[in-house]
């Protein structure tokens, strides 16, 4: 897939809806921060250094072994993309918001299925990201580890025996590893257990945040959990720790869904079918309302009620209805009201292909 396809097609490998525990876990991500020896970190480097880093990483990523592993990677200078296109890469979780903001001397390298992305000159010289559907943290870590080894064939990483891989921020130093999972937790939200769980998780050195929304509101009941500590633990320990906490949350989420389904089946079914009704017929939908309905519909699939709908379709709807995708589709900036109309049109069109009963 070329970068032009990437910014025009909402679909991506991580959205396939496959993988372990896909009734709760949408995706697993591993990110490694790496820097090159003897060169200042991106926020403090000269333009010449930045160009050298881009050149070196590009050559490293195009080595035949790596291409054999992940497919023909594509290099893109961020300056070649419009701000909307960069924002789409953010919405598809392929680059960070920080990377999209500042385009000078920044680039990204993508694998054809988008499961691997390497940001160049983000906060660190390299941010290697592997992103897979479902709860596949160990596999994803193995993949990132392998890619890291292959890149290192021609790159000299900055490393100290005591502090490990040296990063611009001391919060990433050591392993440079950030592992995260994206979870759909409607059961824990409805049963109001989520607050307590967030508190408990944060005491384990993990961070929880709502994927969409502001403050304490997590639109679409989508949450991300990630490790905070990167130094003093080995990589597999960090991954195992997140995996075991995630497994516990998955079990708690399933049992709260079961209880809700048992005790309030009609209410729940009503809510799911109302979501479908709105999404199929509404003429204007805000992003927040869309996320809420998408969450209800996803729950319908998870409970086995909506046979015609797939996780992949639902994930695609999330991305298709994000602001940058809408602007791309419209070909121009829009007022909020116009956006809501276009969003509703796209949703209706997508759902018209589906037989619900």
């Amino acid at each position: 897939m070329s970068i032009k396809d990437t910014v025009n097609d909402a679909r991506s490998k991580w959205m396939e809806g496959t993988g372990a525990d896909n009734d709760v876990v949408i995706s697993s991500r591993i990110r490694l921060a790496r820097n090159l020896k003897g060169i200042p970190f991106p926020h403090f480097m000269s333009d010449a250094d930045a160009a050298n880093v881009i050149h070196a990483v590009r050559i490293a990523a195009e080595n035949t072994e790596l291409v054999k592993q992940v497919g023909a990677v594509e290099f893109t200078d961020l300056a070649e993309l419009s701000s909307t296109e960069r924002q789409i890469l953010v919405e598809k979780h392929l680059i960070s918001p920080h990377h999209a903001e500042n385009i000078k001397s920044r680039a990204v390298i993508l694998a054809p299925d988008e499961s691997v992305s390497i940001m160049i000159n983000e906060e660190d010289h390299l941010r290697i990201q592997c992103l897979q559907p479902g709860l596949e943290l160990e596999e994803t870590w193995k993949q990132a580890d392998k890619i890291d080894d292959l890149l290192e064939l021609t790159l000299d990483y900055s490393f100290s025996e005591k502090r490990g891989y040296l990063t611009a921020c001391p919060t990433n130093v050591g392993t440079g590893l950030r592992a995260s999972v994206m979870l759909h937790l409607p059961g824990l939200v409805v049963s109001k257990q989520i607050g307590q769980i967030v508190g408990a998780i944060s005491q384990l050195g993990l961070a929880v945040r709502g994927y969409y929304g502001e403050g304490t509101e997590a639109y679409g009941n989508l949450f991300q959990i990630s490790n905070q500590v990167t130094l003093g633990q080995i990589e597999s320990e960090i991954v195992e720790n997140l995996l075991s906490v995630t497994n516990q949350i998955v079990n708690q989420e399933r049992s709260s869904r079961e209880i809700i389904f048992r005790d309030n089946r009609q209410l729940l079914e009503d809510r799911i079918y109302r979501a479908i009704g709105t999404m199929r017929y509404a003429r204007m939908i805000t992003s927040q309302e869309a996320l809420k309905n998408i969450s209800d519909m996803r729950l319908g699939i998870e409970l086995g009620l909506l046979k015609g709908l797939t996780f992949e379709k639902i994930n695609e709807l999330i991305i298709l209805t994000r602001p940058a995708f809408l602007i791309k589709k419209a070909g121009q900036e829009m007022e909020a009201g116009e956006r809501d109309v276009l969003r509703a049109n796209i949703i209706r069109e997508k759902l018209s292909e589906i037989k619900f009963d």
Partner: protein
């Protein structure tokens, strides 16, 4: 942000960018705090963030020119060398952010030098100790030979 590692409650964290990226929900206003690493850094210089200490000269990295004052402003270091230059000030910060301040994870092939080899030898020495305690002399001899082989590689 507040977290508890090994029973120690810590207030930590994050340059502005990382704070945004990792901003957590449901934790009240404390979770919104930014540049706390930088604050910590000030603290470890002066003992208390409230006390204005007039220092004669900022510490500067000879490689990139970054200073400890820059660090407390942005929460980031200038270059890899800065980790050595600001070592003394960084250590307490890293302890508070990560709990344990020494790397135990992956080692790069090209720039890891003999670190991997030395780590391997250290592990084998511990195994040797155990084998001797268990009076498994044949196994101990085997391990000893392995250690010698690795030590020869070290040169």
């Amino acid at each position: 942000m507040t977290k508890i590692i090994n029973g120690n409650k810590t207030e930590t964290n994050l340059c502005e960018v990382c704070a945004q990226e990792e901003n957590s929900i449901g934790m009240g206003p404390n979770w919104m705090l930014q540049n706390i690493v930088a604050e910590l850094f000030n603290q470890s210089i002066s003992g208390s963030p409230q006390v204005q200490v007039t220092r004669s000269k900022p510490i500067q990295c000879e490689q990139c020119g970054f200073t400890d004052v820059n660090f407390s402003q942005v929460g980031k270091l200038g270059c890899p060398k800065c980790y050595e230059v600001f070592e003394q000030k960084l250590d307490p910060v890293l302890r508070r952010v990560h709990g344990f301040p020494t790397h135990t994870g992956k080692i790069p092939q090209r720039t890891g030098g003999s670190i991997g080899l030395r780590r391997q030898i250290e592990e084998l020495r511990q195994e040797l100790q155990k084998a001797v305690t268990r009076e498994e002399y044949e196994k101990a001899a085997e391990i000893r030979d392995k250690i010698r082989g690795l030590e020869n590689q070290l040169g």
